[in-house]
Symmetry: D2
Subunit: 259 residues, 4 copies
């Protein structure tokens, strides 16, 4: 059984809106509107328990999953939803030890999910042209403990990618088609290229460019997720739904195209 240790990050849950990621430290208190919690008391306890604040309000103590980290990430620069992130991770075919190039870094939400997948001996090279984005992302990734597997840098990869033999290239940027040739050069044979784009014009231009280079299995999909309310005599899909986040265009590098 995994017990809570000093320096662990925990996830304190009051309800679906009020939940917090907190680092456990001896002799430290975590203050909420419902009183404070003695974090040191949690050391040596199992996950899944409840803890009661100084004002007598109880919280669940959960172990943060990568999906919790993604959801808690600052959303200002983020349009990727769990439905997209999970599909990206699967489609990229990466795992422990993989090397991945990502651009742009954005809030770092996808960066963390990628890093979580390639640890302990892989690496995510994540580029962005915005210093502000990278600072935000750095803070988010640092807190998650995944920074050892990430290399952040400010770089415009439409001008080139300073890597070779990478296992995957994942793009969430305005002009992915300008990166296709650089991506091909940076990728290992058989590696996966994937671009997330909100507009169909981005998809068209990127696909056209992919068709001009030695890429196969070029395809575009979109994912829709519906939440279902399940309750006695009230079971139904929720009224509101995200109708569109973006298209996912992927391809696989080969050394040359067959006739």
């Amino acid at each position: 059984m995994t017990l809570i240790k000093e320096d662990d990050e925990i996830y304190l849950v009051l309800d679906s809106r009020r939940n917090y990621k907190v680092q456990v430290e001896q002799d430290k208190q975590f203050h909420t509107h419902k009183g404070y919690i003695e974090l040191g008391d949690l050391i040596g306890q199992p996950y899944g328990i409840t803890v009661t604040s100084s004002l007598g309000v109880s919280f669940y103590v959960l172990k943060p999953l990568i999906r919790d980290r993604v959801l808690k990430t600052d959303r200002h620069t983020q349009v990727l939803y769990p439905k997209d992130i999970s599909y990206i991770l699967f489609q990229l075919g990466i795992g422990p030890g993989s090397t991945v190039v990502e651009a742009g870094t954005g809030s770092g939400a996808l960066t963390m999910a990628l890093a979580n997948t390639v640890r302990p001996d892989g690496k995510i090279y994540s580029y962005d042209i915005s210093e502000k984005h990278q600072n935000t992302a750095a803070k988010n990734i640092e807190r998650s403990g995944l920074m050892p597997y990430v290399n952040l840098a400010i770089l415009d990869i439409t001008e080139g990618i300073p890597h070779e033999d990478v296992d995957a290239v994942i793009l969430d940027m305005a002009t992915p088609w300008q990166v296709v040739e650089h991506a091909w050069k940076a990728m290992a044979g058989s590696a996966v290229f994937l671009s997330f784009s909100p507009t169909i014009e981005q998809v068209m231009k990127t696909t056209e460019e992919l068709n001009k280079h030695p890429f196969i299995e070029i395809e575009t999909v979109e994912l829709m997720l519906r939440e279902i309310t399940v309750a006695y005599n009230k079971t139904r899909p929720k009224t509101q739904m995200i109708g569109h986040s973006g298209y996912l265009t992927s391809a696989r590098k080969v050394t040359k195209l067959l006739e």
Copy 2:
């Protein structure tokens, strides 16, 4: 650069319908309707190259990804699509070292995806009541090289789960609600329960049962994936689409429920 080694499994691609997973052996030929390929010649070559058969037909030589394995798995007992498998992997929050209980094993497609995620030091305990399913799955998993991370057994887990402190329970079976209590007992605190069910009655019964036990963050979603044809003046979603595979109901174990 990863070079092809003896005993590696490779993925020979002629086109989207004609593609084969093959194990590389010195002095062995792989025979297709388009002639045979000398597999030994591939040893020491990089992935992504093309290879020409005795009849002069060329194939791409790719490195099989977990998604290729899932798609090549015998589909007779399978209703899980990549959209569902990828979401399951993400939602479960598992990674290298995780212990997972799965039932039923089915074709082994999801088992392989789970095993790929928890390797090198995790384990998937996969149960099925059908010996036939398990035999098929065993063959599929064996070929993928992921058997070291899988433990297959014929067992009806509606009668109990012989594990403790597992990191996740994932169900794709007819009566998941009969497993909820056993799952709670087998799971570590904070671990994730997820059930994939085609019908809404299964979802209702499972949710009702989850509500009776110390589970939080109980939710159900469904995913729809549309493939987009992207071609000059012909860009459009494909006419045919999978309208429904199943609902995904998930929850997280706590030791007790707060009032």
Copy 3:
């Protein structure tokens, strides 16, 4: 060319949010935040022109369509969207001269669409148990000029339907299954029954009841509508979407079921 006449209702449009349905009267002004409009000046003018207010702001003058009336209807009691209303009208197979029973009346939005379809010699008998609903609906229908084709009454049709040989029964109420038997009695042979229900439990109970009576072609569908933003380099489905309004369950009456 249809010219605007005294007493016509017109639709003044400033933009997609600021638009008004107004009755044209000689010597009357319509006051807006952007100045007033001399309604008498419009008499004898064609539709589609622009008219300028006393403050120099111009409005388009459109002829109200049934879809404008539906959208302008008070939405407090309304969950039916144009996608549903249009499908209902088509599925019911009604036209000029048809007799239709509706319950509940709600805001009267669907009542107007039904009345518009059966005029000039058909009739909608619309029932609701709420006097408040019927008062709101009466006001809406009166304004649309469709009241001659509508008969509103406060009545609980779970206790019976006081009609014979009606061409269609359309339900948007909490317990449609309690009306199935009464509907069968009130309907002409070959007539269409249709029920709109937000929850799947309502659909299940109604379908079960339909299966117990001489109904054929029993089916349930749901419709999803996505709005697409079409603009240079910005073409994409909108982010927000209505994920669910309700299920549409329909059937056709026969005199007896074949074995």
Copy 4:
């Protein structure tokens, strides 16, 4: 109660796949694989009854609705589904007495639905460049009894529309953008333009052209319909679904655009 009369078209239903539209004539038999039916015996009978063939097999006798006619129409040239047709009819805002220009005629399925809506005193001018399409459509419409409300002609309306003051223009053709200017000229003020197009490039070009002319309320939507299987412990959306038929782009004519 509507009784079956000589010359009425009836709809004989054995099951969801075996159903036939037949014209009732005294002393005539309708032959099926399950024996023949004496059509004259039906005269004076109500709809919804069952009739038994010479081989003792019973059929339901239904009154054909416009949706039955649409579904029975030859589908070779047809991509419009009921979900689209119903939305088109509603969005166009037409009714008894309306004048509509349609192109292309295709199989005539939409033509019939339009004609059914504008009868008894409206007219559908339906154009197609293919004589073959028009011949097929003519046969379909003739059989439906709706020909009095339809005017079919072979004409390429990208070169002009020979009408004025029409209430609606509905296009289902390869190059709708080439018709936008002609449509504007042919339409009454406030009338509705609607184009059904499978590809997004058609939507982009048509929208661009609409933006260049005095049209307001320019919008594009797509509709998805899911069929739900409702049966005890088997309730679920069907696996297969039509993912895409086409986009629906609509707009309203004004005499001039405001700044």
